[in-house]
Symmetry: C2
Subunit: 143 residues, 2 copies
């Protein structure tokens, strides 16, 4: 196994004519180490706690770039009104549920929607691209 995840990511970044920088590496590292999608602000806080010098703007710019490169996914949780980001590498298509009480976010590994695409294309004559499916509710502790 000569080609690790990090190397593969760097290759993809280079292939698009972009660079693997100190801050980009740090952003990716935090996203990789976190098992739920982070908002830019949360990500920035984690970088700060790790004593990594980075400007909030650079966090935004890196998230946008990595999203365009397809290395991370941008999502919006139910009624949260802001974006979150999570690493794509090694993760299957999935959705989320978020607790209205404590804000805890849990992955849902199911996706009942794959079969629906054809139906929707027929119904609307759209060419269906992406979808988002997000749930909210109350987690065990907050019930």
């Amino acid at each position: 196994m000569s080609h690790g995840v990090k190397t593969r990511m760097k290759d993809e970044i280079r292939a698009a004519g972009r660079r693997m920088t100190r801050t980009r590496r740090a952003v990716l590292a935090v996203l990789e180490a976190t098992r739920y999608p982070l908002s830019p602000a949360e990500l920035y806080a984690r970088l700060k706690k790790k004593n990594i010098a980075i400007d909030p703007v650079t966090v935004y710019r890196n998230l946008t770039a990595l999203k365009e490169l397809g290395l991370i996914a941008q999502l919006e949780l139910h009624h949260e009104g802001r974006f979150r980001y999570e690493i794509k590498e090694g993760r299957d298509h999935h959705h989320h549920i978020r607790c209205n009480g404590c804000g805890r976010i849990v992955d849902l590994l199911l996706c009942p929607l794959k079969k629906l695409t054809a139906m929707i294309e027929q119904e609307t004559r759209f060419v269906v691209g992406d979808h988002s499916l997000e749930w909210s509710g109350w987690c065990p502790k907050c019930q």
Copy 2:
């Protein structure tokens, strides 16, 4: 039929100790006349075009109030990063698809998710509340 939609809405507003005002009536009228969910800014623009004097802040406050009263629904379309609102009265549960090209929004009358609730509750131990399911793609004209 002595009890129209308007009267019913006014009753619900009054029942909650709130008032049916000039601006609230206008906001409801525009939402009723529009067959897709509007952002606060779009709603404000339509009111202006109809020469209705209203402050943008009042639009926000009315939308919040009407949402709390359960008369309108707040939703977030796929990757749009802001809220939209639509009238609930007389409309079944549904979802949307939005064109990446022109922004056109079309209703999807299907909802494949009802059966899923029990499954998710079992899997996560959450008590499932609401969900959002939004699609994006390319509409016939933009393909």
